[in-house]
Each structure stands twice: as structure tokens, then as C-alpha cells.
């Protein structure tokens, strides 16, 4: 059963060509329809966490008529437990730039931007050098698609696409109402494709391998590989490229320290899976999706502390504009403190659980909507730790 095993892959970081920007050069000769068809056939879904089909996103944007369009690479990796984009940008930046340039060709964009989180500023000199090399090759290819790097300045919410546009436009990173979606109104209100760093690399690899070979990786719902950031109580923390669709118990067997009691899949905004559910949990869009963050906790850890840490994170990193997220995060954190201290009875947790459900369905953007994921999965599975 190939879908049930944990398979290492070397797609993202592997070197596929000795010639610089060869795949880009080859792809530039293809028609946009061909490229889009391959992308669609590949089943590629966005690697930032939300998992929107990449081909659809590109097609919608390509179909929108506009004097100007943009491609943006979202390198504002801020989800706790995630550090794969940094590794990708350090090791294979050319694949990223190539993927962006292909997107620029397909949608007819005049310019590309990479929004790099401020915490990764130290990478800038190296990336600028790489960018010069890209521009040189682009020139040789007759490709007019300049790429510029913009830096963030320490705001998790700017990873949310519309907040990222606001930030690039010089504003506060406050998410916008949707619709309109970026495909029609993104950066500078122009049609924009915004994809995660890893997504662009996947695009390039699909161009290299063809959709059929790419599709052999992963499962029906989760095609391809995924770069995982593994941290916490593990003897071997780091970056691993694995096939999607793996069962969590196999993952724990390989990465756990033998005493794993829970795995937080997808970062602070993801889900906490307790030991008893490892066996039935599949990592992928058909099960628990993740942008790559896998945080492992062993039995020495207080899940109350873990939850408190997450909630503190959200309380500070909420943009603050919408009520459910701004006030809800404060209430959830202070609420679990009050229960722990005995200032509120244990049943108050039920009240907080209802509140988190309201936040999930009423918050303006993904941040506020996803706070309930970790809250409910930790409180439900580790209730005693919350109270005593």
C-alpha cells in the first residue's frame, strides 16, 4: 500500500538541471493553455495552507482583463512551527523565481514581487544576488518580467493575502473584505496571483516532470510532495520533504521521541491531534491539512501552556480590526487562565468553546477563523490539563 507509507521525496530541493534556468527557458516556449492544462492535470493545490487549486487561481487571473497584473510570492512565513520557505529560498531560489516568471507569462503580468518576512532580512543580500542572476537570464530569454523583493516588518497577519497587499501598499496589514478576490482585485486593486514560495517551486517541477509523473506522488486529494517543518520533542528536528497523504502514526514513529502525546498539525492555527487519534489521522487535504508545520509534544509538556502560548500569539498578532478576533482572542486566553486559577468554574470552558465557534464563523479573515482549531482540539482532548 504505497499510500500508507512515509516516503521521502527529493523534488523541491533536488537539482534537476545543470543548466541555469533551463526549465524556465523550456517552459517559455510553451503556450499558456498548455501550461495551464498541465497544472490542472497535476492537481496542484496551494502550499501555504489553504490549498486552493493553483491552476484555477491562475486561470481566473489570466481571464480577467486589466492593463496591469501582478504575481506575488508570499514569503511571509510566520506560522509558528514553519520554517520551510526559508530553507527553500536559501537553497533553491532559482526555482522560486522561475515559477513566478512562468506565472507572469501565463496571466500576463508585468511585474513580480516577493514579500519576505522581516525576520528573514538576513537572507536579503544573498537573494538580491540571485535576483540579479535571474534578471540576467530573463534578459537573455527576452522575458520582461522583473521581480522585486519587499520586506515585512514583523506582523504575522501580513501572510494573509489581502493584508499582504495592504502592507505592500504602505498601510496597516488589515485584511480586506472578500469578494473581491485577488484574481480580480489584489495588489493596487489589480488582478494578482499570490502563491506560497513552495507552490511556485511545485509549478516548476510539474513543468519539468509533466503532470503524470508528478501525480504519482501523494494521494488523489493531495497530489505531490510537501515540505514539512518538524519541531518540538523530536530527536531529529528539521526540514523534510515527504509525500502527502501519510498517516500520522507513521510520522510519529519516525519523528517522535517515543513518548509523543500530541502533534500540532499546521501550526498555531492548525489542529492538535492527541495520541489516540494518530492512527486515524491522514496528513493532507483529505484529512488534516498543513502548510508544513508539525510540532511534536511529549508527555512532559503541559498542553495548557501550549494553548496559552498560541492564544498569546494570536492576541498579539491579530490585526485588531474585527471584533471576534480582537476581543475573542483576549477572552479565550484570559478565560483559560481564569479557569486554571479557579476564578471561573470548569463549565466556563464550554462558554469559551461556543465563543471559539462564533469566532470561526464570523471573523473577517483566516486568522480569527482558525483560532478555534487549536482551541477546540486542545481543550477537547486535554480538558483535565486545562482545569487542574
Amino acid at each position: 500500500m504505497s499510500e500508507q507509507t512515509l516516503k521521502r521525496v527529493d523534488l523541491i530541493f533536488g537539482e534537476y538541471s545543470n543548466e541555469k534556468y533551463k526549465i524556465l527557458a523550456d517552459t517559455m516556449k510553451r503556450s499558456n493553455e498548455d501550461i495551464l492544462k498541465d497544472l490542472l492535470d497535476s492537481g496542484l493545490r496551494g502550499r501555504g495552507g489553504a490549498g486552493f487549486p493553483t491552476a484555477m487561481k491562475w486561470k481566473f487571473t489570466a481571464d480577467t482583463i486589466s492593463d496591469e497584473k501582478f504575481v506575488i510570492c508570499n514569503a511571509d512565513e510566520g506560522e509558528p512551527g514553519t520554517f520551510k520557505d526559508r530553507e527553500i529560498l536559501l537553497r533553491v531560489p532559482r526555482k522560486v523565481f522561475s515559477g513566478m516568471a512562468i506565472c507572469g507569462k501565463v496571466i500576463g503580468a508585468s511585474k513580480g514581487y516577493m514579500y519576505l518576512r522581516g525576520e528573514y532580512r538576513f537572507m536579503l543580500p544573498e537573494l538580491m544576488k540571485e535576483l540579479d542572476i535571474y534578471h540576467e537570464h530573463a534578459k537573455n530569454l527576452g522575458l520582461n518580467f522583473p521581480i522585486e523583493i519587499r520586506l515585512g516588518s514583523g506582523a504575522y497577519i501580513c501572510g494573509e493575502e489581502s493584508a499582504l497587499f495592504e502592507s505592500m501598499e504602505g498601510g496597516r496589514g488589515e485584511p480586506r473584505n472578500k469578494p473581491p478576490y485577488p484574481t480580480t482585485s489584489g495588489f493596487m486593486k489589480k488582478p494578482t496571483v499570490i502563491n506560497n514560495v513552495e507552490t511556485f517551486v511545485n509549478v516548476l517541477m510539474i513543468m519539468r516532470l509533466g503532470p503524470n509523473q508528478y501525480k504519482k506522488l501523494g494521494t488523489t486529494d493531495s497530489r505531490g510532495s510537501k515540505v514539512f517543518s518538524v519541531s518540538g520533542d523530536t530527536p531529529i528536528p528539521g526540514i523534510y520533504e515527504l509525500e502527502l497523504g501519510m498517516p500520522l502514526d507513521r510520522f510519529v514513529d519516525e519523528f517522535g521521541d517515543g513518548d509523543t502525546k500530541a502533534v500540532q498539525v499546521g501550526g498555531a492555527s492548525g489542529f492538535c491531534v492527541p495520541r489516540k487519534k494518530f492512527k486515524d489521522t491522514v496528513i493532507g487535504f483529505e484529512g488534516v491539512p498543513t502548510g508544513g508545520s508539525m510540532m511534536i509534544f511529549n508527555s512532559s509538556r503541559s498542553m495548557y501552556n501550549v494553548l496559552h502560548n498560541y492564544l498569546k500569539f494570536f492576541e498579539e498578532e491579530s490585526c485588531g480590526q474585527c471584533t471576534p478576533c480582537r476581543v475573542g482572542c483576549q477572552q479565550l486566553r484570559k478565560g483559560i487562565v481564569a479557569v486554571k486559577k479557579g476564578e471561573k468554574k470548569a463549565v466556563y470552558l464550554d462558554q469559551l468553546m461556543k465563543l471559539s465557534e462564533s469566532m470561526k464563523i464570523t471573523a473577517k479573515c483566516g486568522l480569527g477563523q482558525s483560532v478555534a482549531n487549536s482551541f477546540s482540539s486542545i481543550v477537547n482532548n486535554f480538558k483535565e490539563e486545562m482545569i487542574y
Binding site: G81, F83, F122, S153, G170, S231, A268, M295, E317
Partner: protein, 154 residues
């Protein structure tokens, strides 16, 4: 023309005078001055034809754009879960002892500011910290001693 005005003008020449250049200009000032003073923010507002409150609003949104004076070296220790699990508290304690300041404070010689920050993306090598833009991970008490000693002598 004060020093900040000159710097802001240079940055505006480089990045442009649209609102879209606001973040790069704020970052440019931070790089040079470590923080955004009120006069500096009004200079930026003037240069970009924005209101001062708008510049202030954008600046205060970002945790790396400080609007209070900071030291030459800003130390930001990651407080997010895996760094916390792997000894962040001890790292803070070590830094507080060495620098004789608490979190949020700046040394009297204006050389160091000690802050906590959210996930730096070094979860696999926690605890981690930034000194200005330079990351340090896998921190231990000894390692912090060595790093800070080096900075003290810089």
C-alpha cells in the same frame, strides 16, 4: 534641514513618493536610527503627502518598527512555543543578567535593547533570537555569553 529630513528625502528619492513606498522608507529609517521619532515620522508624512496619524498608524502596526528609542543592538528573543519549550526563559534570564536590564528595557549606554518577539522561524533549533537582523539559534547560556560578549566589545 535636520538629519532625519535628509535621510527621509534620500529614501524617498530611492523608493518613490507614493504610499507604496511607506514601508521601505520606514524600514530605511529604522535601519539607520533604530527607531522612528515623532519628528522623523512627520518628515515622512510631509515627504509622502500623508497625514502624520497615517504614518503613525502604519508604523505601530509592525513590531519591528519601533516608535520609542531603542539601543544600537536590538535583541529579540523568540517567545513562541518550541523556543519556549526549549529554554527561552533561561535565555532571557541570562540576557537580563548580562545586560542588567529587564525585557522591554534599554541599557543606559543605549547599546542594547532586550525584547521578546513572536515566532522567528527557527523552531527546529530553538531557542532563537535576533540581534538586529542577525539570527542566532540553538541558544544555550554559554552560547549567549559568547555572543553578547562579542557584541559588548563591538
Amino acid at each position: 534641514m535636520n538629519e532625519c529630513q535628509e535621510l527621509v528625502r534620500e529614501l524617498a528619492d530611492k523608493y518613490g513618493r507614493n504610499r507604496t513606498s511607506l514601508l521601505p522608507i520606514l524600514q530605511g529609517v529604522i535601519e539607520k536610527n533604530n527607531y522612528l521619532s515623532d519628528t522623523c515620522m512627520t518628515d515622512i508624512a510631509k515627504e509622502l503627502d500623508l497625514s502624520a496619524a497615517q504614518v503613525f498608524g502604519t508604523a505601530t502596526f509592525y513590531s519591528f518598527l519601533d516608535t520609542v528609542p531603542r539601543g544600537k543592538y536590538i535583541i529579540r528573543v523568540c517567545q513562541t512555543i518550541t523556543c519556549d519549550m526549549h529554554g527561552k526563559k533561561m535565555i532571557i534570564q541570562t540576557l537580563e543578567d548580562m545586560l542588567k536590564i529587564k525585557v522591554g528595557e534599554t541599557t543606559p549606554d543605549k547599546k542594547f535593547t532586550l525584547l521578546e518577539t513572536n515566532c522567528l522561524g527557527w523552531c527546529h533549533e530553538g531557542p532563537a533570537m535576533l540581534i538586529n537582523e542577525q539570527p542566532f539559534s540553538g541558544l544555550t547560556t554559554e552560547k549567549v555569553h559568547d555572543i553578547i560578549s562579542e557584541y559588548i566589545n563591538k
